[in-house]
Symmetry: C2
Subunit: 143 residues, 2 copies
């Protein structure tokens, strides 16, 4: 259980640290940033499902994320003629700007905290191994 508490604590403290920098720089919050980044990667064809899966939040929550992004003028739902059950979510120009600016801030904080020595690469690969085990456990006991 020790490792569990460590993971939770590391994430919480790191999240709060990054969040504070974003706020100080007048950027969007971290939750918003992570959502924008995913939509940016999907390059205009991301759906609510994609946000849900990649943020590990429920579909309902993902839908509300898009609501907020739209209200903030950072993204828009575009109708998808061939399957009208879902929309495609595209970033606006402001959304593109926000994700780029956020990336700079987050990158800078992470570099300041961890440096970019080989210890960080080693840590990343350890985290990857842990993630693999968690993913396997999730597959083994699906919803």
């Amino acid at each position: 259980m020790d490792i569990f508490e460590r993971v939770v604590r590391l994430e919480t403290t790191l999240w709060n640290l990054v969040e504070r920098s974003l706020s100080e720089e007048g950027e969007a919050g971290l939750g918003t940033f992570l959502a924008l980044q995913i939509l940016d990667r999907h390059d205009g064809s991301g759906r609510v499902q994609d946000l849900s899966r990649e943020l590990s939040i429920t579909v309902g929550a993902a839908s509300k994320v898009v609501d907020r992004l739209e209200r903030a003028g950072l993204a828009v739902r575009r109708p998808q003629p061939d399957d009208r059950r879902s929309s495609l979510v595209a970033l606006t120009v402001d959304g593109e700007r926000a994700v780029a600016a956020g990336r700079v801030v987050v990158q800078r904080v992470i570099t300041t905290v961890f440096g970019d020595d080989e210890m960080v690469d080693a840590a990343a690969s350890v985290l990857e191994s842990l993630q693999t085990r968690v993913d396997d456990a999730i597959v083994a006991v699906p919803a």
Copy 2:
């Protein structure tokens, strides 16, 4: 930034996995469990401050955590005669039972996911190094 996303994703997926098991076993939620565990460690003399610090949440949020624990009958605020600004929070018998039962469930999930081989010990020490850097950064740029 890669390492940041890995930390966030690992924590989210692991948290959700543990939360699900707790719910299936009819236990209190994970947030509640972590709070109870901290109070248990303080052995009847934990304050709101302690919860705030050790859960990395604000003092206001910690105060509300105690409200919820009291409403659920898991803890009680005991007046502290020598400094009446704060109370000491003690677990009730139900609270003790809940933390013990929760511990069993969390322990079992973590063991199932990660096993208890030396790779886990190595990972824990890597996480500890990362935590040290985060803590240093927080000290360097206080609230």
